[in-house]
């Protein structure tokens, strides 16, 4: 695997709350290869968004801090680089798009200005060239009358158009990795279909790597090559998208997939996962999913399982699959 472009190893991120350090991410590891779309799934509070912010080191104004682990971009550990160097990576090599395009666009700046800024900074283009490039980018993301849009303000655009602008900004410096944090969650389904279609097209064209963070398993199934499932600040399962949906290993993944209503599937009752996500300041001992897990044994409540390669390229952190033990129940 020499084409690994981004590799996160045992990432730990802490937050400060009431004079207490709370570990929100604990040992998150995964990698993204060149040209691959990796899905990062989980429910709210599982730390999926924080993972992306940690990679980008976007903690400004919060007490967030990476307290352990490494993040390798190509061969460089970007947890070790200075803020100045990071600024050069951010936007140029790793770009990001967010859920709500309205809050990530500056409301009082023209679209053109916002689009040209990173182009001028990262690519060193002069005004005229930057403008040309910006218009080109807008056309590329399927915005009609791109010349006029350059002079408009974000509030004059619809949600779908704004997300296109965000994608244009993110893609303008031709990044190696695009991190998309719930890019279509705020959009209507027909618009979501447009945006996903656009993202897939651009990703193919540029052979770009993408980290797609979402709670929507449908989006994962349609977009991703591989999937990482997160729960309570940890990775619980990693598999190719086919394997994951065909035969989910971790009880959490199974519950998650079972609880989504699927069109065309006749089911009277949906499966559901009992209980709720644990509070990060009050984590259970042992496996963090054990209190909600129907397969949990006494050992699960005591000791936290570690990531195991259960089958080839299939990883899962669950005592059920630890062959060194004979505790498989039901």
């Amino acid at each position: 695997m020499e084409d690994i472009i981004l590799k996160v190893e045992q990432l730990q991120t802490d937050f400060q709350k009431d004079n207490q350090r709370i570990r929100i991410l604990n040992g998150v590891s995964f990698h993204i290869s060149k040209g691959e779309i990796l899905g990062l799934v989980g429910e709210s509070g599982c730390g999926k968004s924080l993972t992306s912010l940690s990679i980008m080191r976007l903690f400004k104004g919060t007490s967030g801090e990476i307290s352990g682990g490494n993040i390798f971009f190509r061969d460089e550990d970007i947890t070790k680089v200075t803020e100045n160097q990071m600024r050069k990576i951010r936007g140029k090599q790793i770009a990001m798009i967010f859920q709500e395009p309205m809050t990530s666009l500056n409301p009082v700046m023209k679209i053109g200005e916002q689009l040209m800024e990173p182009i001028r900074i990262h690519l060193g283009y002069n005004n005229k060239r930057a403008k040309q490039h910006a218009v080109q980018m807008l056309t590329k993301v399927g915005i009609p009358r791109s010349n006029e849009i350059m002079n408009e303000f974000p509030h004059q655009l619809s949600g779908g158009m704004r997300q296109r602008v965000m994608i244009a900004i993110a893609m303008s410096c031709n990044p190696d990795v695009l991190i998309a944090d719930e890019p279509t969650t705020a959009l209507d389904v027909t618009i979501q279909a447009q945006i996903l279609d656009l993202m897939r097209k651009l990703q193919k064209e540029e052979n770009m790597s993408m980290l797609l963070i979402t709670h929507d398993l449908g989006v994962v199934a349609e977009m991703c090559d591989r999937v990482v499932v997160m729960y309570a600040g940890r990775v619980v399962e990693e598999a190719s998208v086919h394997d994951l949906f065909q035969s989910p290993l971790h009880p959490y993944t199974r519950g998650l997939i079972g609880s989504v209503p699927k069109i065309g599937q006749k089911k009277d009752r949906l499966e559901s996962i009992a209980g709720r996500v644990p509070d990060p300041s009050n984590m259970p001992k042992g496996c963090k999913f054990a209190p909600r897990c129907s397969d949990a044994t006494a050992e699960c409540h005591e000791k936290e399982p570690s990531m195991l390669e259960v089958e080839k390229n299939r990883y899962c952190s669950c005592w059920l699959y630890d062959k060194g033990r004979s505790l498989i129940s039901g």
Binding site: A274, R276, P291
Partner: protein, 298 residues
């Protein structure tokens, strides 16, 4: 319903700690170090206001021509005035006057202003326009000018000072509460109450008013400071307490003539006013941080 129970067992066993809004407030209040100290000072002032007459070392009205205009000493902590009366005792008496005047006036201003604000914000339309335009007219005058005008009509005296301050306090409360009401009125839980068939009075009293209460408390505290200043100013102008009363503002007026020779006659009540107003404002600031953090930057 067997399945249902099973599903929720875990989810329902979480809330063990009993939350109480008062405990929560106390916990956060203790963290506000400055405001907390200021509130202790305010508490002290309130106690003084109540027990003042019993703890004064001298009679505040009793002249003593043997010790006129003496500076602070061990027998007269804050010195004496031009009649030889003990300034410290007079300040203690003045605390009661200042606090009761400001508290009563702000209280009435707040009650009327809150009711008007709730009506204005909740019902809108014609009533809203009348109330808000009237308060705009009142806002057009500086507070103190307005108070002077009212006293010009009613005549001087402490009771009329209370009325004057209450009147100019009304529009600011009305506007504050109207704004809060407009905001709360649009919340889903008010809509939910409407969908259940709750009467308007119930919605206002049960759902909207409690939501505005935090801002009300904050503003109330701040306005006490303003009212103390206003009352002192009116007394200073000779429109409030009659010259003999141990009112802080009146003491300033009396002492004005001796500013050059015995400045403590002015400085002492000045300090009293300054510290009291400061303390109330600090408490107000602290309350805002604790109760109403979203208005911090306003």
């Amino acid at each position: 319903m067997g399945v249902l129970k099973e599903e929720v067992i875990n989810e329902t066993t979480i809330n063990k700690s009993q939350y109480s809004p008062i405990k929560e407030f106390w916990k956060n209040w203790k963290r506000q170090k400055v405001a907390f100290s200021a509130s202790l000072f305010v508490l002290l002032l309130i106690i003084i206001a109540f027990v003042g007459p019993y703890i004064t070392p001298y009679d505040p009205y009793e002249p003593n021509y043997n010790s006129i205009l003496q500076g602070p000493s061990s027998s007269h902590l804050a010195g004496t005035d031009e009649y030889g009366r003990d300034i410290f005792s007079r300040l203690i008496y003045g605390t009661r006057i200042s606090l009761s005047v400001s508290f009563i006036s702000v209280f009435f201003g707040a009650v009327v202003g809150t009711i008007l604000g709730l009506i204005s914000g909740f019902f809108g339309g014609f009533l809203d326009r009348i109330i808000m335009r009237s308060s705009d007219v009142m806002f057009a005058f500086p507070d103190i000018i307005l108070a002077i005008a009212i006293i010009a009509i009613l005549g001087p005296g402490l009771v009329n000072v209370v009325i004057a301050i209450a009147v100019f306090t009304v529009p600011s409360f009305a506007r504050l509460i109207r704004g809060a009401t407009l905001e709360v009125k649009e919340t889903v839980f008010v809509e939910a109450a409407r969908s259940m068939g709750a009467k308007k009075t119930r919605i206002i009293y049960k759902h909207i008013f409690p939501e505005t209460f935090s801002s009300l408390m904050v503003f109330f505290t701040m306005r006490i400071g303003t009212a103390i200043l206003a009352a002192a100013s009116l007394s200073f102008l000779g429109l409030g307490a009659s010259p003999g009363t141990p009112d802080w503002g009146a003491m300033l007026t009396m002492g004005r003539d001796y500013l050059g020779t015995s400045s403590h006659v002015v400085i002492m009540p000045g300090i009293a006013i300054f510290l009291t107003v400061l303390a109330f404002n600090l408490v107000g600031d602290g309350l805002r941080d604790v109760l109403d953090p979203k208005t911090k930057n306003h």
